[in-house]
């Protein structure tokens, strides 16, 4: 269905030169409407709108356009954006495109989510011996093709990175000062094979608007810029959130452009895996079926107890996932963390037990209340410990810590928490 109001808004943004806003409105249209609209634009306008689209969208639009048009649009993208687009389109289409393009193949050689994938090879490098005045003249001459001129790499004749210099310093400095004396000592380079998040965090925590990316020998191969850093941090946050919510990846395209079948498919694998893991709880309860048949009241508290355990585990898991992603915690800190989380969990459980003891006594009697109170303390301590240990151990073993995220931990706690519950019940009641 064509939505004339949204079409009009796209065209209005384009006529005002607001291409990012036009791209955002365009994202809300159907793929065929999007490509129809792009066909009506001048080459220059289409390219401006196209570069502000998400890679997943660009891929969809391309499938609807004629091949020469596709090639011209893709060529106008920055090389790093081009590399990300190539990931989104079917392999066969990508091969055809690559034969007509330069540079992207090089970026595609780096591992997914590495700094190399997100860098731009279109940088303007300065020499350490230049003066500030010479550097500014060089920027005026050659700066048009560089992705950024705000943070500039300074490179020795052998290609090794000497440092970076900020345009601000060049503009403000005496024109006769040497570039090497204006270098910002706070900005380190990252390796092209390193995690993209390290490059992004460096930009976030320093004054840099770009960090240099080098090969293993320290030679400059590209720059990760602030706009990429923002996308990286946003995507990493979205990934952590999706995993905490029980999905392997966030949706990589806007919500309404995903079909119901795609929604279900994106969720079913994790949900099925979690359900299979949850059959553990059936087995545990099967073992204790006689106890349950004798004291049916015990069944009433099962959802409450395992729910509380799961929540306590999820709290410590998300705290630790975040602490690891900002680098506050290393996998070597394991034993300190075990002690802290178990103690914090036992303290939490004691608070809950203190609040709950009297109401449960009134509802189900003193002995059941004792069982519930002891189980709350035990299950909170155990859950907090598991919630912290599993993501840390996963990282140490080189498994993605997200696999050990909240829903899996919760399921693990469900089964083990039930064992704890029935053991305590046996000890107190029989």
């Amino acid at each position: 269905v064509t939505q004339p109001k949204e079409l009009r808004e796209v065209q209005q943004h384009i006529s005002l030169g607001q291409f990012a806003q036009a791209a955002e409105e365009l994202s809300r249209l159907q793929a065929t409407d999007q490509s129809d609209l792009l066909e009506t634009l001048s080459e220059g306008q289409a390219a401006e709108v196209f570069r502000f689209l998400d890679p997943a969208y660009q891929a969809r639009v391309l499938e609807e356009l004629s091949p020469p048009r596709v090639l011209r649009l893709v060529e106008t993208l920055d090389p790093d954006d081009r590399a990300r687009l190539l990931e989104e389109i079917p392999a066969e289409v990508a091969r055809r495109l690559l034969s007509g393009l330069t540079l992207s193949a090089e970026l595609m050689g780096y591992p997914p989510e590495s700094a190399g994938r997100y860098m731009t090879p279109e940088f303007l490098a300065l020499a350490p011996g230049m003066t500030a005045g010479e550097a500014l003249a060089e920027i005026r001459r050659k700066g048009r093709t560089a992705e950024t001129i705000y943070t500039l790499p300074v490179v020795q004749p052998d290609g090794i990175v000497f440092g970076v210099v900020h345009l601000r310093e060049l503009v403000m400095a005496d024109p006769d000062r040497r570039v090497k004396d204006l270098v910002d000592p706070g900005i380190e380079a990252v390796l092209a094979t390193e995690d993209r998040e390290r490059a992004a965090r460096l930009i976030q925590t320093t004054d840099a608007l770009a960090v240099p990316v080098t090969d293993a020998r320290g030679r400059l191969v590209g720059l990760v810029t602030a706009d990429d850093a923002m996308d990286i941090l946003d995507e990493e946050g979205a990934e952590d959130l999706a995993r905490a919510g029980g999905a392997s990846e966030p949706l990589d395209r806007p919500y309404f452009s995903v079909s119901i079948l795609q929604l279900a498919r994106a969720r079913v694998v994790w949900l099925l895996a979690l359900a299979v893991a949850a059959t553990l709880t059936v087995n545990v309860l099967n073992v204790f079926e006689d106890t349950l048949a004798t004291v049916v009241t015990l069944a009433l508290f099962i959802p409450l107890l395992i729910g509380t355990g799961g929540n306590a585990g999820a709290q410590s898991a998300t705290t630790l996932v975040r602490a690891m992603s900002v680098g506050e915690v290393e996998s070597g800190d394991l034993s300190r963390i075990v002690l802290r989380e178990a103690a914090a969990g036992a303290l939490l459980g004691t608070m809950l037990a203190a609040v709950g003891f009297l109401p449960v006594w009134l509802f189900a009697g003193g002995r059941i209340a004792t069982v519930i109170a002891l189980t709350l303390i035990g299950i909170c301590a155990w859950a907090s410990l598991i919630g912290a240990v599993v993501p840390l151990t996963a990282r140490r073993l080189g498994i993605d810590p997200a696999v050990a995220s909240a829903p899996f931990i919760t399921t693990l706690i469900d089964a083990t928490g039930l064992i704890l519950y029935f053991l305590i019940a046996h000890a107190v009641l029989f």
Copy 2:
């Protein structure tokens, strides 16, 4: 305990001029060691390290320093960073500081998490009629005190924002071109009272390294810069994650600097609220206690069924929270979303039921297997619907959608899912 290795690393970073790295190492020390170290530095060095510290850390360090030293350190901060620091320190200390400072009080007048709190009032504004050459001369003369010179606001004589211009355009342009012809039409201004996330997303989706912030009449009051945008997106991501994991706020200081008591305190309120909500499940089961006593086998599947429902609900809740935060979904889309999520959930439940039917038949017989299969379909559809509707409705009612995040939704689904389970069991078994 003084950690000499880390102390040495801080000093080494400082001697190399790597102040961001020095601040990071400093963060790992005890508060008293931090202030001792700062006392040994020159005024300039201390200020450089101090400004790279997190506001929560700055506050701790300040408590250990002598008052005149405190005032001098705080004065070297950018005004927006100063405003955030003032939030972290005790009210009485803040009052004392404010009497010695200018400007911060003004920023503190805007609501928490608004663009006004995160803007810098230290900008350099250009006039529309200036030439590029005149603008560059103005920047050389006055740019030292501005927080950024890369994206510059262009302001009419009446104070109204005309647009923004990028330093890149000024450097590359013919020196005789007018600033007003170089303005980037894609960059909009935000209101000081608007949500900080809107300013950050504008920077993320456009080429801007700053967006102008205006009062209600469109007059320039400050700039939100790219480094603030990165912090905002990172904090918003951390908030969403913390809430998905059942905590009201992310820890605002590094993991190991928080005591066990503080950890427990940060978690207990939500955990207690969730546990109180979970007493609903006890009541539901109490109603069906006779059924449970007759068919104890039904109890075995309770954790599996409510766990699966909770996971399905968490999946759709996190998808929708993310979609809302990037603006893909508005609360007005409610009815479309209800249909999509219920359909996707029913589809998911059918897939799980298809996989599970035979094993449950072998374990517990055909009639129980029928109950479980029907419950899985119903609970997944219901949970996906609830997981989507609750955050959207919360936003429409002006409640923070995070209050409707995964753990609360899970608890709600636990109780309602149990009702569904026993109704289906009654219909099939009796």
